[in-house]
Symmetry: C2
Subunit: 228 residues, 2 copies
DNA sequence: ACAGAACCGTACCGTACGGTACTGATGCTG
DNA sequence: CAGCATCAGTACCGTACGGTACGGTTCTGT
């Protein structure tokens, strides 16, 4: 009954990683109807091995999401000297990066999976293991990860007197909205609209400028300090 | 073979509406694993009737989404005399309305369903019937519906010289981002965070003010005219 | 009152898939 | 080579669910 081969750590063997990549590819291509059989066939392994390594179907899905999440980690930033232009460039870089990520087929497939998963486990009450909740994992490696990375930049900008805000999280959420707008929702709902490199670059630049317009310390604080 | 009882119009009988409401409730409570049996049981009807009325499971789902979409239609606005304050109030009203809608359990369940659906029909190539694509339906009655309703307001504000923009759609998307921020994504991913009436009111007011800050005609047009 | 349609409840069928068990091939260790 | 572990491949089982068929009951029109 207890899963014997529970690894826990995020260290997968090369073979396991290959299996997870196969599952990921299948997930991107075929949506959530990927079957253990299909994964086994594509990865050239047996179903028994899948169950031995990952416990059950949900374990495989969780491992797949964690495996992808581990891949998208990007380098931290060193707190350089900040003037208004370098701050703007930094924000623009973040925005472009984020837009590029969320428009990925992989990101779309994983978000769909995690959302469907979040909608299914309503019944079982106490099951709030955060390592088994795909929604929590995706959220942790998406929205909250970039918040953790962006907050220091925002606070550095504030300390340098370039921008003004009281609640760093509120400021971040505004920036998030200015960047993502309706892009992610539309993509997740299957709206096929192209987002070229040029689009991303332009939208990222616009978002950065708009954010600075709202939060520049030269502006009256009433507009930027409204959110609690 | 061809579905005999195809109604096409959105007119459902009272009994059918009751069935669809049952399906909707089940969808909200149990996520996407609602079964025809469960719908029949809750609606106190037979499976045969479900198949007779809606063709197949997908038809039932489509009808359910359309039925809910028909319910959330809100009244159009009459173009009143616009000053900056009434424009701000109008935007705030839109924002509060939209936030209230997307934080509904029903909206969350329907969006999850539609996204999962959008991810599943990748295989069948030519099947782009817009009345059968849940993602398209949700998008049409959500994001695009409010755009159609908000655009006249924005253009009235521009005609009155209160705000300035070149592309109404770009302006709308910015407003959309300022309102929604990370709310919908987090809710869809199962992040349980409360959004009280007071939160919605405050966030809506902030969004309206921020939008006007970006697009006010007293501002230099460089910031608001950047988006193509 | 009677005929026929609509419809509820349920039994039934086929299939797809999660999970398990078994077999045989390959490779490693002593 | 002997012994053992790993794992691919596949056959197998149980179940859940989509879809259909059918008997029995209520409603409707004449």
């Amino acid at each position: 009954m207890p899963s014997a081969g529970r690894h826990g750590e995020e260290g997968f063997t090369a073979r396991q990683q290959a299996v997870l990549d196969a599952a990921l590819g299948l997930l991107v291509e075929q949506g959530d109807q990927l079957t253990m059989m299909a994964v086994a066939r594509r990865a050239s392994c047996s179903k028994e091995t899948l169950y031995k390594w990952f416990g059950d179907r949900d374990g495989l899905l969780t491992a797949t999401v964690q495996w992808q999440a581990a891949k998208v980690t990007v380098g931290a930033v060193d707190r350089e000297k900040l003037d208004i232009e370098s701050l703007r460039a930094r924000l623009e870089e973040f925005a472009a990066n984020w837009l590029a990520v969320i428009s990925t087929k992989t990101s779309i497939a994983l978000n769909r999976l995690a959302m469907a998963h979040a909608g299914s486990l309503k019944a079982n009450k106490g099951k709030r293991d955060p390592d088994r909740d795909l929604g929590a994992i995706v959220l942790e490696n998406g929205r909250f990860a970039i918040e953790r990375r962006l907050k220091p930049v925002l606070e550095a900008g504030r300390d340098a007197g370039l921008i003004r805000f009281e609640d760093a999280e509120a400021a971040f959420r505004t920036f998030f909205g200015l960047v993502a707008r309706d892009v992610q929702i539309r993509l997740l709902l299957g709206d096929r609209f192209a987002l070229t490199k040029a689009d991303i670059a332009r939208d990222a630049a616009t978002a950065a400028i708009q954010f600075l317009t709202l939060y520049a310390s030269t502006n009256p604080p009433a507009t930027s300090g409204a959110q609690h």
